[in-house]
């Protein structure tokens, strides 16, 4: 099939979907008008306000591959290990970050940079798992990932959108609902430019409901023995999916509803639209959104490649924080920037940097975190932490603390083994002072 034909088809499909939803909204608004209610946009923002007053939310900006700390938040321009990267001043006197992040430098007031993150895991798979779960993989236990735990703890079960969304396609080892169940798995969107596909019910609403009823009743046979687990899982997801697509909150996925100025302010590219979508989703009561940026595994040509990557991330991240703030949402939304580890201080002959879990960066903003500060530091050549090491479980303690979740709570896994949200570690108190 040629590309233009494919384009026509996808436009046609989209239009069908939009028309379908518009009809549906019209029916509902007629009903709500009759009941003396207000318009739909009001209803959405009212409910979002209510949700905000109730709950906290979290956005994880994930840099897959392990971002170089030297080219982002810990430049070392005075040492050979710093390479060619220069440092720039930020809105906070005395704090310098890499020249690659000029926009983030302007929102430094809201950022807390941890320059002393440390772990032992230098393998992508295991480190990606670790920084998503706070644990290394345990045999026999399917641990929930951070976003699943958070949406399980503080998510609004009545919300029609899934509580946990990942933008930027599937990410191996980043986990899912685990023993909490498939309903806490992330809804994975390939990117934010297109709303989730296949969300127009294939028939009229009434018939769709009947179909769903028939589907449910014919599943009993398989559910009675062999398929008990898989049918239970599938029923939950059919239910969730149906609830979602029949809900007016689907509007959250329409970036076209944002003004062109707003869209431009986030910048261009998949990461930018992902950040904008993240804000829209949080606004509509989604609890945890992860936005993935890929390609940070810069074994070769580190400086050029990191420059390209930071150019994709800098503006969206800075705008996201400013946008959340101007909407009064930042106080209740924790934004986390991180990857699975940092990169070696020494630059290799291919102008690359290897994996370096011993000292790397995490940046936090919002949710009550005190911005405008740097926590911890490494020595002059960046090889060792000199002050205030922060372990992965310390970070996870702090994330849960920010979101007012008791990290010592025990989840009961399916095998009946109680497992704390975080094992050990202490809240990094400086984040809140």
């Amino acid at each position: 099939m040629n590309p233009s034909l494919q384009h026509h088809i996808s436009v046609a499909v989209r239009q069908k979907r939009v028309v379908g939803r518009r009809d549906f909204l019209r029916q509902l608004s007629a009903a709500s008008l009759a009941a003396g209610a207000f318009s739909w946009t009001d209803a959405i923002s009212a409910s979002a306000d209510e949700l905000r007053s109730r709950g906290m939310a979290c956005i994880l900006l994930w840099m897959q591959g392990g971002p170089s700390q030297f080219e982002t938040f810990s430049p070392k321009p005075d040492h050979a290990n710093g390479g060619e990267t220069k440092a720039i001043a930020t809105s906070v006197p005395g704090i310098h970050i890499a020249e690659n992040l000029p926009r983030c430098a302007q929102v430094m007031d809201d950022l807390a940079i941890i320059r002393s993150m440390t772990s032992n895991e230098g393998n992508h798979q295991r480190a990606t798992y670790l920084l998503h779960h706070g644990y290394l993989p345990l045999t026999g236990v399917k641990l929930p990932t951070l976003g699943s735990n958070i949406s399980h703890q503080i998510g609004d079960a009545a919300n029609q959108l899934p509580g946990h969304v990942r933008i930027g396609d599937r990410l191996p080892n980043s986990g899912g609902g685990g023993f909490l169940g498939v309903e806490y798995d992330p809804l994975v969107l390939q990117n934010a430019n297109r709303p989730p596909q296949n969300t127009t019910p294939s028939t009229s609403r009434e018939r769709y409901q009947r179909r769903l009823g028939l589907l449910d009743s014919i599943q009993s046979n398989f559910a009675s023995a062999a398929g008990a687990q898989v049918v239970a899982n599938q029923r939950k997801l059919v239910d969730r999916a149906a609830k979602m697509i029949l809900s007016p909150s689907m509007d959250a996925f329409e970036l076209e509803n944002e003004s062109s100025e707003m869209r431009a302010s986030y910048g261009e590219g998949d990461f930018a639209t992902g950040c904008l979508m993240a804000r829209r989703l949080i606004e509509r009561g989604v609890t945890f959104v992860e936005v993935v940026s890929r390609g940070w595994d810069t074994h070769q040509d580190n400086f050029n490649r990191t420059r390209e990557l930071t150019a994709q991330v800098d503006q969206p991240m800075a705008t996201l924080i400013a946008d959340l703030k101007s909407r009064g949402m930042l106080d209740k939304t924790l934004v986390i920037w991180m990857g699975e580890f940092g990169r070696t201080p020494q630059v290799n002959p291919r102008s690359g940097r290897g994996h370096y879990p011993k000292a790397f960066n995490v940046v936090l903003a919002g949710g009550g975190v005190q911005g405008g500060q740097v926590i911890g530091q490494t020595n002059a050549d960046g090889t060792a932490i000199e002050d205030r090491p922060v372990a992965v479980n310390d970070l996870f303690q702090s994330i849960y603390h920010t979101l007012k979740i008791d990290a010592d709570q025990e989840n009961i896994s399916r095998v009946g083994r109680p497992i704390k949200l975080v094992d050990g570690g202490n809240v990094v108190e400086e984040l809140f002072s």
Binding site: R210, F222, N233, N348
Partner: protein, 532 residues
């Protein structure tokens, strides 16, 4: 006269049969299958173990169809098989399926997913088509697993022409990554965990990983530009003009160097090729062809080569491996049924690594033929039942097309324009090396089957689709319900299911929408998307 002829034939076939037996001498499928079941009974099951009963014929037929050829049987095949009174029909159908060209196709797609789900880069997908075609042919030709492995390990050439370059291509020709994948796929051993540090809970040392990597430094991947097409090739170099070997992961170098962890900018230590399982070595300076051929021979002679493959296939068919995860095994891991896995691996080797023999043997075991039960918890006993497996993307695609009687039209596909099957895989594909308990249904998958025009346009009762034809052909509602169940689930409906369907049809004013809804529900059911 007649007797004489018979006796002559008898003698001829006896003599000839002996000769053939000496040449092939495959272990007997039935007796190996029996011994496997006995080994499980002895070593795994307690005396009071509650074993699931043998599944019925319809379940068995759908199971072997999906497992062996990646599709579901037609209603006619289900009926014929159920009515066939012969005692050896299960074994016979397995043999027939293994002779079908779809056997090679099905498993080639499986291996394509094994290799390309771990690709470092999307560009590598350019090699997927050739790999699938080549492996399909090799499997259908009956090539041994050792021959196939040797091809993968020693391949060179244009990735669009030689499918065996797939593993090297998927890893971009990078020495360390290629090494890791060869070990993971063919030995089931994840020695790459020792790449950066001595392994925390395995015996492998960092140096041993790099000694294995030292078999692959002279291999690389580069672009091929011709007037009309663009491709990549796996190439090798044996003559290094400049004396200083370039320290690079993607271009060939004369020898492999283990990086110095404290000083990554240093050249590191030059490493001699050495195979970690046997400690056999090769001298520095050996040519690429000799290195890789030698290593391929050492790999394919090793016991872990056979164990890794039988473990993978057993896991795919019985629902759980002797070792889990299937690609993280080795002398430091404990098998859940040591005797059985050893037996199967030894006999597989005796069969000359005959993959058809292996599948036939597994399908003949009681363990395979048991009814399915939900996946056991970590306290439960393994292999007391089969386990419902979520269909791989290609199996589900085929099942959908078969149930709805859609013919797949050939499409020209590229990594960017993957065609209908490739699009479908974006939603439904998964890495078949991952533990299956972690692979569950997702919202995008549910939405695709419930609402996508690709599926739903086929579910409407227009004249062209299967539904319109059947509505016209079968006037009796009850018979039509049976037909739908046979088509989608390869079984007859239970009485209760029939009642539900008839009640629904009764409540629905028109016949056509009622059956559209039933077909929609069957396709969207968990049973359709699993092999039970």
């Amino acid at each position: 006269m007649v007797a004489k002829v018979v006796s002559c034939v008898g003698i001829v076939s006896l003599v000839f049969g002996l000769a053939v037996n000496l040449a092939v001498a495959k272990p007997d499928v039935e007796s190996v299958a029996n011994n496997l079941d006995m080994a499980l009974a002895e070593q795994v099951f307690s005396a009071s173990e509650q074993l699931a009963p043998s599944c019925d014929d319809a379940t068995y037929l759908r199971r072997v169809w999906l497992d062996l050829v990646g599709d579901i049987p037609t209603p006619e095949e289900v009926i014929a098989f159920s009515l066939d009174p012969s005692a050896d029909k299960r074994r016979r159908v397995v043999r027939q399926l293994l002779e079908s060209p779809h056997y090679g196709q099905n498993w080639a797609r499986y291996w394509r997913d094994v290799i390309f789900f771990r690709a470092l880069d999307e560009r590598a997908l350019i090699a997927a088509g050739a790999m699938e075609a080549d492996i399909t042919k090799r499997l259908n030709d009956g090539d041994g697993w050792d021959e196939i492995a040797v091809e993968f390990m020693t391949a060179r050439g244009d990735v669009k022409q030689n499918g065996s370059t797939a593993i090297v291509m998927a890893q971009g020709g990078r020495t360390e990554e290629t090494t890791s994948e060869m070990s993971r796929i063919f030995l089931g051993i994840q020695i790459q965990c020792a790449q950066c540090h001595d392994h925390p809970y395995d015996r492998w040392k960092r140096k041993q990983f790099h000694e294995l990597a030292a078999f692959f430094p002279r291999v690389g991947v580069r672009t091929v530009r011709a007037m009309t097409k663009r491709s990549y090739e796996v190439y090798t170099i044996d003559r290094f003009r400049d004396r200083k070997p370039k320290n690079t992961e993607t271009r060939p170098t004369a020898e492999h160097f283990m990086p110095n962890l404290n000083d990554p900018s240093a050249k590191g230590t030059q490493i001699q090729p050495k195979f970690f399982l046997t400690r056999a070595t090769m001298p520095l300076g050996t040519s690429d062809a000799d290195r890789r051929e030698q290593l391929a021979q050492w790999f394919t002679e090793n016991e872990w080569f056979a164990i890794a493959l039988v473990n993978r296939m057993w896991s795919e068919l019985v629902g759980e491996g002797f070792y889990e995860p299937i690609d993280d095994i080795g002398p430091d891991r404990e098998a859940s049924a040591p005797k059985a896995v050893k037996l199967l691996a030894t006999k597989f080797r005796k069969s000359n690594y005959d993959l058809r023999w292996l599948l036939e043997t597994i399908c003949a075991t009681e363990a395979y033929q048991r009814e399915s039960r939900p996946r056991r918890s970590s306290e439960g006993t393994p292999f007391v039942a089969n386990v419902p497996q979520r269909l791989r993307s290609d199996q589900l695609f085929n099942a959908l097309y078969s149930a709805l009687d859609i013919r797949e039209t050939p499409e020209k596909t590229t990594p960017r324009r993957p065609g209908r099957r490739g699009q479908f895989a974006k939603a439904f594909g998964y890495d078949p090396s991952l533990p299956r308990e972690g692979i569950s249904v997702s919202i995008p998958q549910v939405l695709t089957l419930m609402n996508s025009p690709q599926v739903n346009d086929q579910l409407t009762g227009g004249r062209k689709g299967i539904l319109g034809r059947l509505l016209h052909e079968i006037r009796d509602d009850e018979q039509l319900v049976v037909e739908f169940y046979l088509r989608c689930l390869s079984r007859q409906p239970e009485q209760e299911e029939m009642d539900i369907a008839l009640a629904y049809i009764d409540e629905t004013p028109k016949r056509r929408p009622a059956f559209e809804d039933l077909l929609w529900s069957l396709v969207n059911s968990a049973e359709f998307q699993h092999r039970r």
